[in-house]
Symmetry: none
Subunit: 457 residues, 2 copies
Amino acid sequence: MSAIIDYIETNKEKFKDELFNLLRIPSISTDSSHKDDVRKAAGFLKEQLEDLDMDRVELFETDGNPIVYGELITDESKPTVLVYGHYDVQPPDPRELWDTPPFEPTVRHGDIYARGASDDKGQSFTHIKALEAYRKTDTDFPVNVKFILEGEEEIGSPHLVPFIKEHKEMLACDMVLISDTAMFAEDTPSITYGLRGLAYMEVEVTGPNRDLHSGVYGGAVENPANALCEIIAKLKDGDGVIQIDGFYDDVVELSDEDREAYKNLPFDLEKYKKDLGLKKVYGEKGYSTLERATARPTLDVNGLWSGYQGEGAKTVLPSKAGAKVSMRLVPNQDPNKIAQLFKKHVESIAPDTVEIEIRAHHGGHPAGTDLSFYGLQAAADAFEEVYDKEPLFSREGGSIPIVADFEKVLGAQSILMGFGLNSDAIHSPNEKFALKDFYRGIQTSAKFFEQLPKHSK
Amino acid sequence: MSAIIDYIETNKEKFKDELFNLLRIPSISTDSSHKDDVRKAAGFLKEQLEDLDMDRVELFETDGNPIVYGELITDESKPTVLVYGHYDVQPPDPRELWDTPPFEPTVRHGDIYARGASDDKGQSFTHIKALEAYRKTDTDFPVNVKFILEGEEEIGSPHLVPFIKEHKEMLACDMVLISDTAMFAEDTPSITYGLRGLAYMEVEVTGPNRDLHSGVYGGAVENPANALCEIIAKLKDGDGVIQIDGFYDDVVELSDEDREAYKNLPFDLEKYKKDLGLKKVYGEKGYSTLERATARPTLDVNGLWSGYQGEGAKTVLPSKAGAKVSMRLVPNQDPNKIAQLFKKHVESIAPDTVEIEIRAHHGGHPAGTDLSFYGLQAAADAFEEVYDKEPLFSREGGSIPIVADFEKVLGAQSILMGFGLNSDAIHSPNEKFALKDFYRGIQTSAKFFEQLPKHSK
């Protein structure tokens, strides 16, 4: 193992330079004008894997962006780890709020600033570099490993589930390793054992058949923007309780044990408020901030638009108004059922003076990993060796829908080994990833592969 | 009078050619690259007035576009009419939707197609040509007349109010004559005796200090877009009644006579709905569509924005959400007072989990002309003589802020003698003005000047 640790230590600059090359590619999957960049990022990763003398490296075409696959089978009797990551990124908008350009990575105060630094190029790159440390030092790799790196995570992975269904045998594994989550706090390694699901809807309200003059028609014609606001306002009550009929029917309530465990997690509410610039937190009555953010379902407007958004005043009564509304789900809510309930409810409360169109975007199931699973124990040991601290076990508020899919299709639980921080500003301007956690991530991954066979009996 | 009527009849082609010359000048006030064209249009009108042997014609410079002024004082004891018009026009965009170029006037099916044909070059030109008919036939002009023609109406007349305040004596008059409105329907002369005012607000709600991941923070942090929707939803109740404290305090309720007059106006609700593509009209309970559109105050969202508006899904909990909200006002509401009430009310209902900023854009006072005013009676007689029909008296839903300013500064009521039609597509592609109404407008103006002294006792 010391050869590996030495290799990692010696090659830090090289690892950083390579990650920077990956971060420079604006692989924004939601923006079709960046299609070639997305493909370029896939090619970059394929070359990275090809350099590791694996048994097989292949770029699989899909109807969308390609999937990069690599495998190294050392001994069929040993555990097989499927490493999942994604090389696509969120759009960088609003660009003007970035202190340095989103696709020109820079290090400031020990943090790498770039779109994708944390989510997920930087985090997923750690496992490739960990494998490299074994291969380039001619150290026997202690388990079998397969990589599956996709380019559509930020748009809901539309082609990944069909792909894993179609390649069940090739992808067969004992567990999935994913680094796409955050540590509980700085220098506080954490293993996420629960994730929320997602239902993402778009609502479009149409009033008159064209934009009208608000002086000539105002008061006599329903304004779709006002109507949309009324609809959205009715979706929650004053206690933050979602008003969609049947919304909570399948929710697994927090047990007393769960709530006790939450109380033991280190959490500083004042720091949280200060970090976010809040005078007051918000949320469902009867739950703590951590519970609200990770174990309770939500309903948030993600986007809103209508009429004139420019400078000054334009007296328009808009023809249309739209909103993107997403709901985070907890075990055992089903995203398809929730999407249906949302649609039915919104249609039932929409005024009959407007037309309403409701579309569902991608969704994802909530997921959980069994706390006694040996993979989790190996991950805990690896974290402790590198960070010199026992990791915390916690739930996260975000969604990695693919975790539920891996479980359903491959029967494999996921190890969510996050190296990021909640303050990484993923999906926001000035996304960052601590350089030291990039390096510790590579070390932890290497240790995890070493630990795994010891726990697998 | 017959000499005048003959003159108008004989010179129709000349009038049309002159108007076409004016329409060919792209005097777009909002586009600084057309500054010289705006000035050219002013010069054209100055020459027109100079040709009429008036007592005084002058081009007044302002910090913006010039004001063309002309006066003819025949007898101090007679009524003085101040004719107001504007020679600037809206931009023609989108140009590709014009069937013929916006600044190459053409006649099709009896309509003049050009930007400014109706708003307001064509309409205001009628009064110059009416005066010409008197002057070129050596007919004594029956009243005193002053012209004030501005070039900034389409950008909110920023220099006109200071100008009239500064030239109160020069502009002293008994009434203002404005042709910048529409007739109720084709061949249906109408006199507008009420205009709504305007208070235009912008609301910005700030939640967290940056855009957040809706998975990580959703449920625990107030979403400013949800909060904005709740605020806007609370501004009206289910009956369309505005809920701002004190909002209706100064509203002059419709009298029984007013409401009776409304019932007599020709209005086809089915046609209205069909034209706008509405399955159902909307509005304040207890009022008809026409009353709602012209005699009742309103509250409309003119613009709405937050978070991600692009294609697909982005799971953002936005930092900010904003709305433009305007209120149309009726006599005796005061736009400044209403802006204050709006601000106070919105601040009082905003949740304490967000910051809120409220700004007022430009406003305008509502205006009304006393139905018993002798000027209105003279205008009615003139219309009846030319159109062979008693004109309708109606209110309009839009605002002409300058009408309230003329009343406040000069103490003069306005006669809104519209020759346009609501279907003229002012501010839209393919603006038009019926050629026959251009000619009838000249005749009506000439008759009006003749009638006025008879009613002024």
